[in-house]
Amino acid sequence: MNSTLLVGLWRQRLASPIRVVILALMVLLPPLLGSVVRGIGLQALGDAIPLALVLAAGMIGQDVSSGVLQLILARPVRRSEYVLSRWLSVGFGASIANVLQIALFWGLTAARGWAPSAETIASFAAGRELQIFGVAATMALLSSLIGGLGDLALYAMIFVFGGIVTMIGQTRQSAVLHGIGEEIGALLSPKIDVAQILAGAPSWFAIATYASNITLCLLLAILIVNRKELSYASG
């Protein structure tokens, strides 16, 4: 891991007012909703996917299309090191936002007297942490494929496509189509049910799927970045 690259991406993200505002709204609004609407509980916070996406969008593609990557890779930095640093940077950055959001939710709901138990909160937070690193790996792959913020559009397209396939699978009662839709969903948002693990009944299949999804995405991203030609002459 390259700490300069890791911190560099955070600073880059913090320098973008749009991203900062979106991230701040994402961190603040759901806990406020949870503190106002009794009974909604942790559902108010939803998935951690948006937290990861706001930091991940363009994580590699923006550097490629702007030409910044050329200057970075003229330094003694391996391309694999660059990809993994980007992944970890998005993962850790979104993790911090996740912890802040959950801590805020817990504080506000505790003040109102309806905070979930510490175990529930911990399990929920851990599940979302794993989801964040999973989504960051998927975005690393998509961002290595397409320049600028195209990875976000690609993510949305695959998400919609997966949803349609799942829906068709359900309406036609096709297990194959339904399975494909589920796999697409798992690729876009790899996650593990931490509550199951804490309850002593881990799904080893789910854990293996999660690990293999992340590994595959990162390996493919490294492979693609390794093969990338970085001179504008190649454009």
């Binding site: 560099g8 003694p76 093969r227 001179s231």
Partner: protein, 315 residues
């Protein structure tokens, strides 16, 4: 210790295109340690592709490049390489100082020397302290180019690759650029320059490769005392040359070490060896009473190379 390029070929295959576009064909040359080596050629000649291959940004179809015996993308090579791209794209939210600090860290130079080396680099390229504290998006083109040059010089690299380094730089910046190149040359650094500015290349380069159609058409030595002649065009008052006579003008030229190429009523063209030869010729003409009103080099050596490239490569 040198850069050795052997039978380098590179082509680009466009999406849906039947044939690949050949950018480099069987390029073979050696860039010696401590020399300033220029790459010139018309647009689309393959210069940027060549530089991209030298830096390991592009993968050749065939052939080899060795920098100190290593592949160009070897981390050992990267550690001693500085690079200034033509299209300098920076994280524009950073300040100049933060940008150099970032690259100092990426170059894996010691943390303990970061502040002092960054400040020294900024001073070296003439970026004042207040400019260094300013976000890059408020820099002029010339300031950006200076910052890019400072970035390329960080850590005293052994190899420096410059892609159009004087592009957009003001005259003071051009002078500074030449001074910096002379400094790094004095330290034995090998510099490779890709540039369209032939006069700049001619002033700083020891040797230059003329690239055309993906091939190295010629490698010329430009060091002081090079035998390549340049053409000096001399204008006089109307009829002065005719009155002096062609034989006398020829004799005056030969006496000054020049050669009369052709002559008209108020203009003559001479082949001179260098700037000193041109000065001697003008002095001789004036001393002989020829009323010279203008003397100007018709074209530089490299301009001539551009206009009439040699048929075969030589090294």
């Amino acid at each position: 210790m040198s850069i050795q390029v052997q039978a380098l070929s590179k082509s680009y295959r466009r999406l849906l295109a039947v044939e690949a576009v050949r950018a480099l064909s069987e390029v073979t040359l050696e860039i010696h340690t401590g020399e300033i080596f220029g790459i010139i050629g018309p647009n689309g000649a393959g210069k940027t592709t060549f530089l991209g291959c030298l830096l390991g940004f592009l993968t050749p179809d065939s052939g080899t490049i060795q920098v100190d015996g290593h592949a160009p993308d070897d981390l050992e090579v990267r550690r001693v390489t500085g690079y200034l791209p033509e299209r300098l794209v920076l994280d524009r939210w950073m300040t100049g100082r933060a940008f150099l600090g970032y690259h100092h860290a990426l170059a894996r130079l010691p943390d303990s020397t970061r502040r002092s080396e960054v400040d020294a680099a900024l001073e070296h390229v003439g970026l004042a302290a207040d400019a260094a504290a300013r976000p890059i998006h408020r820099y002029s083109r010339g300031m950006l180019q200076r910052l890019g040059l400072a970035q390329a010089l960080l850590g005293n690299p052994k190899y420096i690759f410059l892609d159009e380094p004087a592009s957009g730089v003001d005259p003071a910046g051009v002078v500074l650029f030449r001074r910096l190149l002379n400094e790094v040359k004095g330290r034995g650094v090998t510099v490779v320059i890709n540039s369209h500015q032939l006069d700049q290349v001619e002033r700083v380069c020891d040797r230059v490769a003329f690239v055309k159609g993906g091939r190295v058409e010629a490698v010329e030595t430009l060091a002081a005392g090079a035998t390549l002649a340049r053409v000096l065009r001399v204008r006089t008052l109307a009829g002065a040359l005719e009155r002096a006579g062609q034989e006398r003008i020829q004799a005056l030229a030969r006496g000054a070490g020049a050669e009369l190429a052709d002559m008209a009523a108020a203009q003559a063209r001479f082949a001179v060896a260098d700037d000193d030869g041109a000065a001697r010729l003008v002095a001789a003409l004036v001393a002989a009473g020829v009323p010279v009103i203008e003397a100007a080099p018709e074209e530089s050596r490299l301009e001539r190379l551009f206009l009439e490239p040699p048929a075969q490569a030589k090294s």
